[in-house]
């Protein structure tokens, strides 16, 4: 038993953080997909990690960093849902109705008759869907379903990996929301003091951190179960998605309340993170659906 990420995993995550601090600052995260950034992620080996023999456990710290940066690119879909190396920008509508960033994708993965197929973007018809998370636009695939090449990746596994990937990103998104709120609470003065000196603010942010810190080991355990194909892997992934989702939603809400009116604008960056939390919470099954799955597994 040794339940900590390895030094290599931590080091790689730090390298990804440094890249994203440079290449995906908040103003870039607001703008949405960037081909240049995608190429950098590819070059760093982040996109093809599973395909090149790494495990779901290696992916979690990387996707946490993607969440921290509110990375707009379809990294979950390309890296962990696809699970094999495909050329170009890859997205997927597997376990979700909508394919994120499908307008800029070269390849779109779909589920048909219990198997996964990769389709070329020019072979399908896309219908843009209006969504609140503008940097990560969603599309319905309305035509071209009959095309495509069958993938090796198991459909059930791809679904679980999508949920796990979203859980990991939610951890990073939540962490960044709490940081933004704590930074603001140190700077913002009312009644002659920083608002962070008031217990009503302290306790709200402490609670948000509590939910986050107890969700993180749960997400890593899900990655561990998935990497070994354990018989509890479905339960463990559902528990991760439920707890990371609740932690994300709670962190966003606590941060908004701490920031007050400025948090309710597009002038501050918080809204970008909150909206991504809502989007990832709704995708691949929301916390209620996943908690119900855990209930069936443990109460049966």
């Amino acid at each position: 038993m040794n339940f900590q990420p390895t030094e290599d995993q931590q080091l790689f995550a730090r390298t990804v953080r440094e890249l994203l601090e440079k290449e995906c600052p908040p103003e870039a995260a607001r703008r949405g997909f960037s081909k240049e950034r995608w190429e950098e992620l590819l070059e760093m080996g982040v996109v093809d990690m599973l395909a090149s023999g790494m495990t779901e456990i290696d992916m979690v710290p990387i996707l946490e960093e993607a969440g921290r940066a509110a990375l707009p690119e379809p990294l979950i879909e390309a890296s962990i849902v696809a699970g094999e190396a495909l050329n170009g920008v890859v997205t997927a509508a597997v376990g979700t109705r909508y394919a994120a960033n499908a307008d800029v994708a070269d390849v779109i993965i779909l589920e048909k008759h219990g198997a996964l197929y990769s389709l070329q973007r020019e072979d399908v018809t896309l219908q843009p869907i209006d969504t609140i998370d503008a940097p990560r636009p969603l599309f319905l695939i309305t035509g071209g379903h009959d095309r495509g090449t069958r993938l090796e990746t198991d459909t059930g596994l791809a679904l679980l990996r999508g949920s796990l990937g979203a859980s990991a990103e939610l951890l990073g998104l939540a962490a960044r929301c709490i940081e933004m709120a704590a930074d603001y609470a140190k700077e913002r003065h009312q009644f002659g003091k920083p608002i962070g000196s008031f217990q009503a603010v302290k306790h709200k942010l402490a609670d948000a951190l509590l939910q986050l810190e107890f969700a993180r080991p749960v997400v890593y355990r899900a990655a561990w179960s998935l990497s070994r194909g354990d018989k509890t892997m479905e339960r463990d992934v559902s528990m991760a998605k439920a707890m990371a989702g609740d932690a994300g939603a709670g962190a966003g809400k606590a941060a908004l309340q701490t920031l007050g009116a400025i948090g309710y604008t597009q002038e501050h960056d918080l809204h970008v993170w909150m909206k991504r939390i809502w989007a990832l919470n709704a995708a691949w099954g929301n916390p209620d659906e996943h908690r119900a799955r855990v209930a069936s597994a443990v109460i049966a």
Partner: protein, 374 residues
């Protein structure tokens, strides 16, 4: 990362489980009653004779040199077997880790074996009538007279103080000092002249608390734990252990969650409570994972600081939620005497003792998030 137990850890678990199968604890009366106290003491002696009392301590002091992971495994098997809360938990989980870190060899050899065997029961002498959450405002004094301390003042809310033989206390040893400075951590035999112990009935009617009056109580200066005047630092290390991993191991909450699921099914699986039952199990399992996470960090040479406060918030609020869920499941049976009611009443104390949850949230906000002190 490797979440699998090693062959050695698995063998340790098997050994624990077979011992508990052969030595079922049975259901004991409340440890705060005279009969219950003796029942608990005799259970503790059985544990000690078989070498299970303090598995992670060095052998020289009554342990078996188990790793922290093995200790967690022991705890899981202990509570899975339905065994009771530990009678000498203040000694085992609060004082002992502090002694191991700050005590002299002489102090360790003198006290640890008797804590493990339950021959000497310990209580905590920190809170005072006017110093609870604001512990640093305590006023009980230790005045130096040659090789002795002369102790004067009043301690309160000392759990199991009525049955205790010793008290570890915090005293102001420098009369010129204020707040966190000038306090000393002193070990006090409660049979010393000048000590008066008055029982206080807890919410269940049993004398679970005591007030301890100290009226010119003379104890050797050698009973000081750590350097004179450094009591606050040493006490906070005890508090770290207390809130951190040691006082409330996950095994106990996993056992409660499993029993809650059984209760839910026995009562016909009422749909309205399924979500709470699932949350209870998830919270307990998450606590178990977070504990393995923290212990792995410790075993790699890391430390646990203010994060310990997050643990205390989690276990205390989880325990209360699980028992509240049981009370809701039981309907009209909720207020009838039984183990769920006992557990519910005990769980209500969790957010209060070991530092109130309000104080823990302040600590998290100030020391982990860096928010300014008020």
């Amino acid at each position: 990362m490797d979440l699998a137990f090693t062959a050695q850890e698995q063998a340790f678990r098997d050994e624990c489980a077979s011992w508990f199968a052969a030595n079922p604890p049975g259901r004991l009366d409340s440890m705060d009653t005279p009969d219950g106290f003796e029942q608990h003491r005799s259970w503790e002696r059985r544990l000690h004779d078989a070498g299970w009392s303090a598995v992670n301590w060095p052998r020289a002091f009554g342990g078996r040199d188990a790793t922290l992971i093995e200790w967690l495994i022991f705890e899981e098997e202990y509570y899975r077997a339905g065994a009771p809360r530990r009678l000498n938990q203040n000694g085992l989980f609060l004082l002992a880790p502090t002694l191991l870190e700050f005590g002299t060899e002489e102090q360790k050899l003198r006290h640890l074996p008797k804590i493990a065997s339950c021959d000497e029961i310990w209580c905590q002498g920190w809170s005072e009538p006017d110093a609870g959450s604001d512990l640093a405002s305590l006023t009980s004094r230790a005045t130096r007279d040659g090789n002795e301390w002369v102790l004067r003042g009043q301690k309160t809310w000392a759990s199991r103080g009525v049955y205790a033989d010793w008290m570890f206390g915090l005293f102001r040893s420098d009369p010129e000092s204020e707040r966190h400075r000038g306090l000393s951590y002193i070990l006090v035999p409660l049979d010393t002249p000048g000590v008066t112990v008055r029982p206080i009935a807890q919410i269940d009617g049993e004398p679970g608390f005591a007030e301890v009056f100290l009226d010119d109580v003379r104890v050797p200066v050698a009973n000081t734990l750590g350097p004179e005047g450094d009591g606050w630092k040493i006490a906070m290390s005890t508090a770290g252990f207390e809130r951190g991993v040691v006082l409330r191991s996950p095994g106990r909450y996993m056992a409660t969650a499993d029993r809650l699921i059984e209760l839910f099914k026995e009562l016909g699986s009422p749909a309205a409570l399924q979500d709470d039952v699932a949350r209870a199990w998830m919270n307990a399992d998450a606590y178990r994972l977070a504990t393995f996470w923290a212990v792995s960090k410790l075993m790699q040479g890391g430390t646990i600081g203010a994060e310990a406060s997050l643990n205390k918030l989690w276990w205390s609020e989880m325990d209360l939620h699980m028992h509240e869920t049981a009370m809701r499941l039981l309907g009209e049976g909720a207020t009838l005497d039984g183990p769920w009611l006992d557990g519910f009443v005990f769980s209500l104390a969790g957010p209060i003792y070991a530092g109130t949850n309000e104080i823990q949230r302040n600590i998290v906000a100030e020391r982990v998030l860096g928010l300014p002190r008020s």
